[in-house]
Symmetry: C2
Subunit: 154 residues, 2 copies
DNA sequence: TTTTGTGCAAAGTATTTGCAGCGAA
DNA sequence: TTCGCTGCAAATACTTTGCACAAAA
């Protein structure tokens, strides 16, 4: 079977771009940290471990390119930085996120929960949906578990 | 009946803050541009028309304060700036947005369409939802209308 | 040789912070 | 007088850009 990186290489070629060593290193970092929601700086530091000559600007340019090709999605959780998430292969839509306001953890929901809602929006607002962003802010199971334990102790 | 600005004043006082002239001017600008999704810079320029002495830093500080008090919600549509939306009084949740990728218009959906989805997330992921952000990117009715007209002409 | 991609440094934006002065309590 | 608030300027943080050079087609 064809590897994920091979398929990304083809996507680049189809759009007339090359998979240069720098781009490959960047993509590999993203593949190795699938659910990490890395910022450009995070990616840069990780890529630098394997390919120390790489420049930060190249990482930014690569991430921008991958965003254009919809290999990754760019997302912003409200701290000042953009984060980059690999899109699941074949996923019609970007996945959802759960951001914990206690511990800062970000969990992913791969299932598409918006089918019905999107139908309503398309019909009622006459809006052709191409993409979406859905993020819930609240308290994750780890933190509410801890709170329960704390209560028990007292 | 008590005015909206009066109620905001009370909210400030309850949290031990004053409604200074600068803060009042800022709030008034927000009230007068309810659906405009203003950036801090936008607010600053509008406030300056009424109160030219005001500084940009004060606007940033005021918007931060209002965000803390949940008078406004801070949102980011993926261009590098934060935008500030007055929260509807009594609204349990932040409203949703439709961002047009053709013309850049941002429309609001005040209805809460996420009730069922939130129930699923709370149950299935054991996550206590406190707030949400939902934005659809696509083509608005104005732009798809124009496209249809363009097609007719040819 | 033409084009594409890269690293570095500089430039841009957006936002935050330090600080001296001001004004209300 | 005290303390919160402000304006200004400087600092910071993130991202983009210009440019000379390198690599690939």
């Amino acid at each position: 079977m064809e590897s994920r990186i091979e398929r990304i290489k083809k996507q680049l070629h189809n759009a007339n771009y090359k998979l240069t060593p720098q781009r490959e290193a960047t993509v590999r970092v993203l593949l190795e940290h699938e659910e990490a929601h890395l910022s450009a700086e995070d990616v840069y530091l990780l890529v630098k471990e394997k390919a120390p000559e790489i420049g930060l600007a190249t990482v930014y340019r690569t991430l921008e390119l991958l965003t254009e090709l919809k290999v990754v999605d760019k997302i912003n959780f409200g701290d000042g930085v953009s984060r980059f998430d690999l899109r699941q292969e074949g996923a019609a839509h970007f996945h959802h996120h759960l951001v914990c306001i206690e511990c800062g953890a970000v969990d992913e929901i791969q299932e598409d929960l918006l089918g019905d809602v999107e139908q309503i929006v398309e019909d009622r607002w006459n809006f052709q949906i191409k993409d979406h962003r859905l993020t819930f802010h609240g308290i994750c199971w780890r933190c509410s578990g801890e709170a329960a334990e704390d209560a028990e102790r007292t």
